[in-house]
Amino acid sequence: MAHPSTQQVWDWLDTIPDPEIPAITLTDLGIIRDVGWDGDTCVVTVTPTYSGCPATSIINIEIETALREHGLERIELKRQLSPAWTTDWMSQRGREKLEKYGIAPPQPAGGPDKCPNCGGTHVEKLSQFGSTPCKAQWRCKDCLEPFDYFKCI
């Protein structure tokens, strides 16, 4: 049986939302490192965002479930630690979707350039950590709303 192309598999993966930040997909996040075929086994290589991220196992389950729904039977998930995930791998589309969702996207400067709610540029850090391992808490001094910032690593 001819198997679907790797591009087809990528397209399917591109529809799976991140379990903790459903506004973006797994490919937006940049954690899918490779898709390939080993005989009739579809091999998907995934890298974790943070080594202790509790979403990692859920993500693996969701990938497997989605690919099974598309008719794939043999699926192998590989964990790849190196090169370590970096927010540079997040897609431009992902960054835009994050901001629309109310999360400031990662910036090379190490902090958000503006508030994702009102666009104000007077922002300050509340805490280096936030509601998930990948986020920090900031506050906008213009609209006075707190917001999440996607940590840059």
Partner: protein
């Protein structure tokens, strides 16, 4: 000493047990920190440490070759089999003492991981590459908090000085070197702990000076009884009864 196993297995247990026990201690703050932001920060730090633990102990189990998983190693060993330094098993004390311990450990952890990125063991190099980024982030926060509280109010200063006086001798154990370390350093797998000491000392002392804290005279340093498992403090057993009770009461229980 009952050091009969593979030095790489021992060395991986040291790495994994340090992060496991510290991660567990830090997680004890969950729901108890002075403000919500700190509570979340502590829980996230614990999570990163436990994630690193999983990577180290998983590999330790593979190196040992007896089919033990990371979970088996974490939940089914007894106190005498743990290889963490005494620093990380001490009770949390107050918030300041917790953050002081975190800072002293974080700087060591970051330096050790950064050096291990060049390990001749590619698996260790990969884990270190991932974990070093997290450790660098931890240092940013614990360093800032140590400075903020040290150079803060009269009370916060006093408490941070007390914390440093208690913890400083324990921190010295991080740099004690034994035959396991020698073997690992010689093989280029893990750096010699002593090789990190000068840089650690310089960085930590500079931060403590900024925090207006005085480094206590090191009359003694703890002698490395935790990392080789010769003797732990009485606190480790109590910690383990909490951490391991579910697997002890319901062996093999899974989610």
């Amino acid at each position: 000493m009952t050091q009969t196993s593979d030095p790489k297995f021992e060395a991986l247990l040291r790495l994994g047990d340090n992060t496991l026990i510290l991660g567990h201690r830090v997680s004890e703050w969950c729901g108890h920190a002075p403000v919500l932001e700190e509570d979340i920060a502590l829980a996230n730090t614990a999570l990163d440490l436990l994630g690193q633990t999983n990577l180290w102990l998983e590999y330790a189990g593979e190196v040992e070759g007896k089919g033990r998983s990371a979970d088996d190693l974490a939940f089914l060993r007894d106190a005498w089999d743990f290889r963490n330094v005494l620093l990380v098993e001490l009770p949390n004390g107050d918030f300041g003492q917790t953050l002081m311990r975190q800072y002293l450990f974080d700087v060591f952890n970051r330096m050790n991981l950064e050096a291990m990125r060049g390990s001749t063991d590619s698996r260790i190099a990969e884990v270190a590459e991932k974990a070093a980024k997290e450790a660098a982030y931890h240092v940013e926060r614990s360093e800032g908090t140590v400075i903020g509280l040290g150079d803060g109010t009269e009370e916060s200063h006093r408490r941070m000085q007390d914390a440093l006086n208690i913890l400083w001798p324990y921190a010295q154990e991080l740099f004690i070197t034994d035959e396991v370390d020698e073997a690992m350093a010689e093989a280029g797998v893990i750096p010699h702990p002593k090789s990190l000491q000068d840089a650690w000392d310089a960085e930590v002392r500079a931060t403590l000076a900024q925090a207006t804290l005085e480094v206590p005279e090191a009359h003694f340093g703890h002698r490395g009884s935790g990392k080789d498992g010769r003797m732990h403090t009485e606190h480790l057993g109590h910690l383990l009864t909490q951490m391991q009770w579910l697997q002890r009461a319901y062996p093999g229980q899974a989610w």
